[in-house]
């Protein structure tokens, strides 16, 4: 029987960064809602687990219109964060999971075996969130889209999002305990235009560049929604078929854009 993993339990952000190093050989645990089942089912056998839940990385701070959200802020404690994060967060799993699962873990999640995860990625994309992380080469801050694309060897410390911007949010769920979100669209009108993103469109959420470009070019919401599925490889999974998602995504885009006013 293999030896149990080494547990690292830093009590400050600096300690967490030091323990993480360049991330090699380290498995990060925030709330544990994604990691524990992998351990229980024997799919992951990590050597070192970095538990960052008590490293002072939690909290929502509002300063000059920019909201800084600590990486280990539980999904259920985002009520002071900007929309559409608040609304999207309300629909993640149920209250017991939301109390423990972190926004950082949600941001870093890739698709589950049978259903999408990372419901907060799309609101963060639409908000143009800035992600501050540590890892090889030290601390850096980057756009959330770049972070989602590639974040191997990075430990998220905080997420900065603009507050008070007009937003739209439309989702499709399966009536079920937890109301799994099978498809959801977030839209935010920022200073430099409208950003639109969707979750449930693949292993991670994606910005809908086709829609954004059409809007920037003066298209109506209806016409812009016609570009919804461009560049996407929609999945068929336990929740819905690719075909169904293809039918519904333009509809959700239209609804979300309609809420922007």
């Amino acid at each position: 029987m293999s030896a149990p993993p080494e547990l690292l339990t830093p009590t400050s952000p600096a300690e967490a960064a030091a323990a993480f190093g360049d991330g090699a050989g380290v498995t990060v645990m925030g709330g544990g809602t994604i990691l524990l089942p992998e351990l229980t089912y024997g799919r992951l056998r990590p050597e070192r687990v970095l538990m960052i839940g008590r490293a002072g990385l939690s909290g929502v701070d509002n300063a000059n219109g920019v909201v800084r959200i600590g990486a280990t802020t539980p999904v259920g404690e985002l009520q002071d964060a900007p929309e559409p994060l608040v609304t999207a967060a309300k629909h993640v799993a149920d209250r017991e999971i939301r109390a423990v699962g972190t926004i950082g873990g949600n941001l870093c999640a890739t698709g589950g075996v049978s259903a999408p995860r990372g419901d907060l990625q799309a609101p963060l994309l639409a908000l143009g969130a800035r992600i501050t992380s540590v890892g090889a080469g030290g601390e850096k801050t980057e756009d959330v889209e770049a972070f989602i694309e590639e974040h191997t060897g990075r430990l998220v410390l905080s997420i900065d999002v603009p507050g008070g911007q007009p937003f739209g949010y439309a989702r499709l769920d399966r009536p079920h305990t937890h109301h799994y979100t099978m498809l959801a669209v977030s839209a935010v009108k920022g200073a430099d235009g409208v950003r639109v993103a969707a979750s449930g469109v693949g292993p991670v959420a994606r910005r809908l560049h086709g829609v954004e470009k059409a809007l920037a070019g003066g298209a109506s919401a209806e016409d812009a929604a016609g570009h919804a599925t461009e560049g996407l490889d929609l999945p068929t999974d336990a929740l819905a078929s690719a075909w169904y998602r293809e039918q519904m995504l333009p509809l959700l885009v239209r609804r979300a854009l309609g809420q922007l006013g």
Partner: protein, 461 residues
Amino acid sequence: MKAVGARLPRYDGIAHVTGRTKYVADQSAQGMLACKGLRSPHHSARIVSIDTSKAEAHPGVFAVATYKDMPKNTVGHLEALGVPADEPYLAEHEVRFKGQLIGGVAAIDEATALEALDLIDVKYEVREPFLDIRKAFDPGQPQMTEKGNVFFYDPYDHRKVTKGDVDAAFEKADVIVKGSYRPSAIEQAPIEPQGCLVVPESDGRLTVYTCTQAMYFTMGVLAEHLQRTPGSIKLVGGTVGGGFGGKVDSATEPLAAILALKARRPVRWIFTREEEMLCGSVRASWHVEMADALTKDGWILGRKVLTLHDAGAYTRFSSYGATKHSFHLAGAYTVPALRTRAYVVWSNHVPTTAMRGFGVTSASFAIELQMTRNADVLGIDPWEFRLKNANRPGDLMPTRKVLEDPSTIDTIRACAEAVGHPLSATYRDMKNDERSGEWLPPHLVDQAAHAKLGDPQEAAR
């Protein structure tokens, strides 16, 4: 008669609310080992070889088992009813569904057992799977058995029910309405995953703590697999944490027992939720094609039905399910001419089994959707269409039984009242009586109790 009509507390109610009810996973025995099962990653493949040597040598592993360790590996659940045994409990030379059990390990704990599974080396020759039962008779499709993809009932390859003259009914009809209905497979999904704990006693007997819904059935199946007398096995049931038909297949007991005997230690095997959902048997998916011959004023003159039932990789109880299905294809209604054919089709899906209303829910699903469709096409209120065609005392069922006491009319009327659906006077005041007057049109004369039943062989032709 103090109990009938009285509101009695559950005898296990206090235990349930104090957390003292014992389920199979709450049972333990000293020295208990953890069991994990090795499952096929392929829908269909030939097994070229199985090498368990590395797993057996892994520290903390007490026993490894494959089909070679099972005294009688292929036991038919319904052999007594003439359904031949066709399923090896542990895969021998092929796997026919993703998740099929190939072997298992008993180790000091679950983590070690899972590590040992990774060390069992199975070589496969992957084959094209057969997954669309609508292609049951297509010779171009992969064939599940040498005799093809369809179960043989002897003397037919299907169950059939024939009543009256269906061709004449379809000739006479004003409207033919067709529908195709495909209820999906459903996993029983009890909150308690299935499992068992097998304790090899010092006197050579086995004590088996099990979640089975069918104790004597499991005892018989287990005794056959192990080639022991039933008297040498003591089954202890506890409260079943939901079964719904999904805990009748004795899925865990044989493997846990063989490992317990090999290791000479108690072995507990509880399915993970993933095993329960993906590998545990399910309610079958069905494909039902129905055509109804109708008069424009709303009588059903006749019905034809073709059913394909997805048995999955092995027969299990499917032949029985399709039989039950066939008897119910008139539904709660009188259909004077009926011709049904139900085929049991094997596929490379998980083997299917019972679930509440086994075989009948698929019939009801198709029938009720068809009835509403019929009403839509005819422009008749769907409640009244059902009442018009409802079976009545004295009507003849497709099984040639004369109905004594159906409650279709009273039930539909009560439901309409309960939901506030208005019925026209004729239907609002309809009585659940033997046919007469406007409810005895010419085409239903031979459905009524006073009709002669005639020669059954004649009817079957």
